[in-house]
């Protein structure tokens, strides 16, 4: 039985602790590495070669490790981010602080391809000759090294970039002797579980079925799965935890971000979800079976982060009361003129509360909004110009339309994400053991 204790780096701490404390599961997986998180970790590693793993490592693992060790529950996580070896050492150090002896920590390496970026077949060959420097390049590793580490007795397996589903399939593979159907089942379970509460009633846009209350969402049960040797699985939550687990929600997560449902590429197998069937077993359990397995893809997916110079400034200011929208529009037009005066032309102005999120697809206003935020995002070629753009926002409070309030601004690195394919021979995944 495998459980999802976290579905992104900032996810709740206690679901994993509850799984470990229950003693009911064999492994708890912490999925903590979205592309955005990896970008942040790469930035940290650039400034400090000893950094670059999840900064929440201690906060997440300190309450979890004692229970996991007590019940023999394995922990698998990609919180190694851009520096899995340093994360492994940090976990060993944390275990010592907690008085845990002999914790076996395995680190999966080999995803970092920044020295081999030229071996990747990038999807955008036109740009290949004129790219800015790489912030990082990573291959998506499969479940092989994770399964190997678990089979050799790891208590904790820490990785960098792997396919999220492989984090879950790894410990399942170590427990079961996987044929094609079981492999497909294990990877399907991994795909279903990787977003945590999204499988058990979170982020579910449905006008039918049970609506979870705030109190239930605040204590939401995260998913666990029992995988059988035939590849079928039962999705549920711990006893007593609130959740909505129905065919609708499982189907939505099954197809989440898979693009072509009959050919979902993972490093270990191409999955066919068109044959999957779902059955409600009881009011908190859904059975999943029938995923098809096709051959392993020839190449692995790679992702690259290109560091463009300068910053993107995100700027916001609020207007309220009668005529709020008109004043917000005037503020936007004023900003456009001022940014143009700075020579900045790559910007977008939106009105939060009107059409900032869905743009032209927003439903029309039925009345003037009583408050609106004017939002500008502007790409600035230098840090100095980003500062000047930020200053222009604050200048609106004295020299812009009346009542500009609630200003906020932040600058983010100007990173472009590109994807490509890399031959398996160019990617060497390894299991390394941390000294106890």
């Amino acid at each position: 039985m495998v459980a999802c204790g976290a579905g992104f780096a900032g996810d709740r701490i206690e679901p994993a602790v509850e799984f470990a404390r229950s003693g009911l599961v064999d492994a708890v997986v912490l999925e903590c590495l979205a592309e955005r998180t990896l970008i942040g970790a790469l930035e940290q590693r650039r400034n400090d070669p000893a950094a670059g793993f999840d900064r929440r490592l201690k906060r997440r693992l300190a309450p979890l490790l004692p229970w996991a060790v007590h019940h023999g529950v394995r922990i698998v996580s990609n919180l190694g981010a851009a520096n899995p070896l340093a994360a492994g050492e940090a976990i060993v150090g944390l275990a010592k602080q907690l008085g845990i002896d002999g914790l076996r920590v395995a680190v999966v390496t080999g995803d970092d391809l920044v020295e081999r970026a030229d071996r990747v077949r990038w999807a955008d060959p036109l740009a290949a000759g004129q790219w800015p420097p790489w912030l990082g390049v990573h291959a998506y590793l499969g479940m092989g090294e994770i399964a190997e580490a678990v089979a050799e007795g790891a208590d904790v397996v820490v990785t960098g970039r792997t396919a999220d589903s492989a984090l879950f399939a790894g410990p399942v593979a170590a427990a079961l002797d996987l044929d094609d159907a079981a492999l497909a089942g294990a990877m399907t379970v991994g795909h279903l579980l990787e977003c945590g509460g999204q499988l058990t009633g979170g982020n579910l846009a449905a006008s039918r079925g049970r609506v979870l209350s705030a109190a239930e969402l605040a204590d939401l049960g995260y998913p666990l799965a029992t995988v059988l040797p035939d590849g079928s699985a039962e999705i549920s939550v711990l006893p007593g935890k609130p959740a909505r687990i129905d065919e609708l929600g499982v189907a939505l997560q099954l197809l989440y971000e898979v693009h072509d449902p009959s050919a979902y590429l993972t490093p270990d197998v191409t999955l066919d979800f068109s044959t999957v069937r779902l059955e409600q077993v009881d009011d908190r359990t859904v059975r999943v079976h029938g995923a098809g397995a096709r051959t392993r893809p020839e190449s692995l997916k790679a992702v690259g982060f290109l560091l463009h110079p300068g910053l993107v400034a995100d700027l916001e200011i609020a207007y309220a009361g009668d005529g709020a929208l008109a004043r917000a529009r005037t503020a936007g037009e004023t900003m456009a003129l001022r940014l143009g005066g700075l020579g900045l032309t790559d910007f977008r102005i939106d009105h939060v509360g009107v059409d900032a999120v869905l743009g032209g697809g927003s439903r029309p206003l039925v009345a003037d909004p009583v408050e609106v935020r004017m939002h500008v995002s502007v790409r600035c070629p230098t840090d100095e110009l980003a500062q000047a753009a930020e200053d222009e926002l604050y200048a609106l409070t004295l020299a812009g339309p009346a009542g500009g309030a609630g200003m906020r601004s932040e600058c983010r690195v100007n990173v472009e994400v590109v994807s490509g394919l890399v031959d398996r021979d160019d990617v060497v995944g390894r299991v390394e053991w941390c000294a106890r």
Binding site: R36, Q198, N203, S207, L248, S274, V276, D346, V418
Partner: protein, 102 residues
């Protein structure tokens, strides 16, 4: 009748790809959506907000339709200047709010 009366939905993304999933409440709802939500119809809805081609996939086994817009999020989420870097998480409402013939 709106799409949300017949189906649940969720939006996702990968790189420049916007990936939308609808799951119908029952078989009849699935047949209605399958008829009404052609790739052309959905492309028209999405093009008020994003550009590029739209691919439709049918998954009758779980009563689902998928709409995949491969060039909708050019440069990835982090290159976006739209207010709210993760705006695409709300993009399912571009479908759920639409009227369809009953």
């Amino acid at each position: 009748m709106r799409v949300r009366d017949l189906a649940a939905g969720r939006a996702g993304d990968k790189g420049s790809i916007l990936d939308l999933t609808l799951v119908a409440f029952d078989d009849e709802a699935y047949r209605t959506l399958e008829r009404a939500l052609t790739a052309d119809v959905v492309r028209g809805w999405l093009h008020r907000t994003v550009d590029g081609p739209v691919e439709r996939y049918e998954v009758p086994g779980v009563r689902a339709l998928k709409f995949v817009a491969g060039e909708a999020l050019g440069g990835g989420l982090f290159a976006s200047l739209r207010a709210g870097v993760h705006w695409q998480k709300a993009a399912i409402w571009l479908l759920l709010d639409e009227e369809i013939p009953g």
